[in-house]
């Protein structure tokens, strides 16, 4: 370890055994817990006689417990890190304590080489073993020591001595062989300590889970934290060095297992349920049966205890009435600073307003203060940048809100004060802080006139916004006539209906002759005649469509003769053209029609065997229909 080249002349080994506070590492997050309590550590210090490079600072410290029980000896150590002048120590008077032993002096010296670099350390410790004589608060006065002709002194150290209740104390010393009985009911406790039990919604409190023990704990299992329902919680980094604390008149070693910052999110009484864990304690017993002289006959037992913390009730107070409109739950103490845009900006250019809220309180839960920009300002999404630190008692820091905007039209505009209201729990009052009103001049960017641009902006691409709604304006003008009473089904209504219907009936009666004539002449007769003629000539029509000339005229003649025969009930064999003329005359059919009828018969007889065109066939057909209709009409009249 040491080398002659580095000037080490001789080595002195010194074995010192000292009682030190136990070193332990608690890591709740990883659930790996190492606990070693009250272990006597044997440290080997290599003491060197060689010269030590002088240190700039000399530290002279005192190490003594802050709390001790009456009747229990404890040690006070004064340590100096540079070789003192021998016999220069001046111990304090230790008033209220009996000195059982001391001062015992132990010195240590070490040299370390790290990457070829040599560091030396030296320590000299003066140890006193003291016994408190009475309960109360005492102070161990300053001790002083001379190093290199200069005198250094320690700080006075307060010590509290309490008279412990001695309920399980007797048990400890007795020769009971049951390890369970060595760990009393109150020897290991789990407590959830809260910094506040009554606070406003949004305020923060510190909750720490502390293990109190009077036994050697060497393991913790099944550790479970309660659900902090109704709270926003954040784990805090904490100092995990153990300390001693008096609880219920007894002194415990305390180990902080976890520490949280809690912020209630609802009002009323919120109960934090129990946390639980299983602690394993070590009990060392003297084995009476197989006392082994070599190993001291000691047996190590493990005793497990399931621990539960008592539930804690937190009373969350309601905010007092009369909150201003701009209040939205911020609680604490805040400052507001703002960075306004330039006094003059060009239209259609972008700028921004910056609001910074700084201070301590529920910064994480505050919302951006509302700002009202003039209508022609196009506002964009607010940007939030926060710089929040969570410390042991509170969250503090700052939040910066950036409100970007584009001024669309030129003119002079006033930006209303931006208000931020918070509740100050210490004064119990609402406080509103506001920015100064700000006037901004928007200069025309020179592309168009203000109004034209504003219109263009409104009209282009974007849907016109409905800014607000209100009821439509009243009815103006002259007083309208009184609302008329119901007209339908009144006598007047019936009168009008009856009169209209009566007029119609009278007109109908007066014109009934004309109506009937109209109906006979125009419609019925004509239609009937046509129908008869067409029925007769249906076969002829079929032959005409086929182009069978001979058959067509044959059928035409059969229809024409047959028509008269059927109509006047005369056999075809008795019919002649003269007879037809005679019969038609008798029935008031005009001579012209009769003549036309006979002429068609003659023409058909001739055409039956002579070549004619289809057109003539068609003419003959329609003429026959026409004349038959005329005869029908004439006869029916």
């Amino acid at each position: 370890m040491c080398d002659a080249r580095h000037g080490c002349a001789s080595h002195i080994f010194c074995l010192i055994t000292i009682k030190r506070p136990p070193k332990r590492l608690l890591n709740i997050g990883k659930r790996v817990i190492y606990m070693k309590l009250l272990i006597r550590l044997s440290l080997i210090f290599m003491m060197l006689t060689s010269a030590v490079t002088s240190w700039a600072q000399v530290s002279f410290t005192v190490d003594a417990p802050a709390l001790t029980a009456l009747g229990q000896p404890f040690r006070v150590e004064f340590t100096v890190d540079k070789e003192p002048e021998s016999g220069s120590i001046e111990a304090p008077s230790f008033e209220g304590f009996d000195i059982l032993a001391g001062p015992s002096v132990s010195t240590g010296h070490s040299i370390q080489f790290i990457n070829g670099k040599q560091t030396t350390s030296y320590s000299c410790t003066y140890t006193y073993v003291l016994m408190p004589t009475a309960a109360g608060k005492y102070t161990i006065g300053a001790a002083s020591i001379k190093v290199d002709g200069k005198r250094y002194s320690t700080k006075p150290q307060p010590i509290e001595v309490i008279a412990e209740k001695s309920n399980t104390q007797q048990n400890r010393g007795s020769n009971n062989q049951n390890p369970e009985s060595h760990i009393g009911k109150d020897d290991i406790l789990l407590r959830l300590k809260v910094s506040e039990t009554e606070l406003y919604k949004g305020e923060s409190l510190r909750a720490s889970l502390v293990l109190y023990t009077r036994a050697n704990i060497d393991d913790i299992e099944n550790f479970s934290l309660p659900a902090f329902d109704g709270f926003w919680s954040q784990e805090l980094s904490f100092d995990n060095t153990p300390s001693r604390e008096e609880y219920n008149g007894r002194i415990y070693e305390t180990y902080k297992l976890t520490e949280l910052l809690l912020s209630p999110q609802q009002t009323g009484d919120i109960i934090i349920p129990s946390a639980s864990l299983t602690a394993r304690a070590q009990v060392i017993l003297q084995d009476s049966r197989g006392a082994n002289p070599f190993f001291g006959g000691r047996q190590i037992y493990h005793v497990s205890r399931d621990l539960k913390s008592t539930p804690v009730t937190i009373h969350v107070k309601e905010f007092p009435a009369g909150a201003p409109a701009s209040f939205n739950g911020a609680i604490g103490s805040f400052r507001l600073s703002s960075k306004m845009p330039a006094k003059e900006i060009e239209s259609n250019s972008a700028d921004q307003i910056e609001i910074t809220i700084s201070g301590g309180g529920n910064l994480k839960f505050i919302t951006a203060p509302k700002i009202s920009l003039p209508e022609s300002f196009e506002q964009y999404d607010t940007k939030v940048v926060d710089n929040i630190m969570v410390n042991a008692t509170d969250t503090s820091g700052s939040i910066t809100y950036t409100y970007p905007f584009v001024a669309r039209s030129a003119g002079e505009f006033t930006i209303e004060p931006i208000c931020f209201t918070f509740f100050n729990p210490t004064t119990g009052e609402y406080q509103t802080i506001a920015t100064e009103p700000f006037t901004i001049t928007v200069l025309d960017d020179g592309t168009a006139t203000t109004t034209a641009k504003a219109e263009r902006y409104v009209g282009y691409g974007s849907i016109m916004r409905q800014l607000d709604r209100d009821i439509r304006y009243i009815h103006l003008g002259k007083l309208p006539t009184k609302a008329a009473s119901l007209f339908v089904l009144t006598p007047l209504y019936w009168l009008i209906v009856v009169v209209i219907v009566a007029i119609f009936i009278v007109a109908y009666v007066l014109l009934s002759k004309r109506i009937r004539d109209n109906r006979n002449i125009v419609a019925r007769r004509m239609k009937r005649a046509d129908k008869v003629a067409i029925q007769r000539l249906r076969a002829a029509e079929r032959y005409m469509n086929e182009g069978n000339r001979h058959a067509f005229y044959e059928e035409m003649l059969r229809a024409l003769w047959g028509y008269i025969s059927d109509k006047f009930n005369i056999p075809v064999s008795n019919l002649t053209k003269e007879r037809i003329r005679e019969e038609l005359y008798r029935r008031n059919v005009s001579a012209a029609i009769a003549e036309q009828f006979c002429e068609i018969i003659s023409r058909s007889e001739e055409a039956q065997y002579s070549p004619t065109t289809d057109g003539e066939m068609n003419d003959a057909y329609s003429e026959a229909v026409d004349v038959m209709s005329k005869i029908e009409g004439a006869i029916k009249r």
């Binding site: 439509r472 006539t481 009184k482 609302a483 008329a484 119901l486």
Partner: protein
């Protein structure tokens, strides 16, 4: 249509006025109403809504009310409630309920009054009224058609339809030209159908007017609606002022009402006013 009808009524009233001396009083009332009307409009223009309300109310008291009077009164009530000294509590004296009530009355007299419908919708937005039960398409169509004119408007239309239909029937009967007869026949059929439809609309409108069971909640704050006509019974709802309900029956101091969503309950008579 209205003007035609008013003209007819005018003639009838004129004839009656000659015959009956009591109508001289009516003429007097009209003159007073005209003065109130001018007063009301002037007060409204000067944002003196309290006076405007009084002026329009006195026209109604004189029995000279028209849809426009109710509409203006409702507007005055609405504005009076909106412009309270205590801006945090608008409509604190039941103005919203009165406004809704008078918009309903205006629309009842003139279903075609678009302004009143618009303002009613806006006023109802301030209440906690529930959504209507959706109606069938036919019912909505029928009501939409009916609200295009007043009952009297539909009556006049139906009479004109009848007269025109009969003229066209006559035309059909007398014309010798086939085309004209055909046109006359079909138009006459259309007109007769129109006559039936418009008459039905007039009757339906009349029935809606005569059998109107609607009422509006009138109170300063929310009113409890109980499950039975007994103040110790369960409170089932708390309608705000301006909520429109339907009256189903009255029992002593209590009225059974049904809400737009079909829920029923009992309310004190003094808390509602029938449309």
């Amino acid at each position: 249509m209205r003007r035609v009808y008013n003209y007819i009524i005018g003639i009838v009233v004129g004839i009656l006025a000659v015959a009956m001396p009591t109508n001289i009083q009516a003429a007097d009332a009209t003159t007073t109403a005209k003065v109130h009307w001018e007063e009301g409009i002037a007060a409204y223009e000067n944002r003196n809504y309290k006076e405007a309300v009084e002026a329009f109310e006195s026209i109604i008291a004189l029995d000279e009310a028209s849809a426009e009077v109710y509409y203006n009164l409702a507007n005055a009530y609405f504005k009076l409630g909106q412009h309270k000294e205590n801006a945090a509590r608008p409509f604190s004296a039941g103005e919203l309920g009165k406004a809704v009530l008078n918009y309903h009355r205006a629309i009842k007299l003139n279903p075609a009054m678009a302004d009143a419908r618009y303002n009613l919708e806006l006023a109802v937005d301030h209440t906690n009224d529930t959504e209507n039960i959706p109606q069938s398409f036919i019912a909505t169509l029928w009501q939409g058609l009916r609200s295009m004119m007043t009952s009297n408007g539909w009556t006049i239309t139906s009479i004109v339809m009848l007269a025109m239909a009969l003229i066209l029937v006559m035309f059909y009967l007398l014309s010798a030209n086939i085309l004209l007869r055909k046109v006359g026949f079909f138009v006459a059929i259309v007109l007769i159908v129109s006559f039936i439809v418009t008459s039905a609309l007039a009757m339906s409108s009349r029935r809606a007017l005569l059998n109107d069971d609607r009422a509006v909640v009138i109170c300063n704050d929310t009113t409890p609606v109980h499950a039975s006509p007994d103040s110790a019974s369960k409170i089932i709802r708390q309608p705000s002022q301006g909520v429109t309900v339907r009256i189903s029956r009255v029992h002593g101091d209590w009225t059974e009402i049904s809400f737009a969503d079909g829920e029923m309950g009992w309310i004190r008579n003094s808390n509602i006013e029938a449309v």
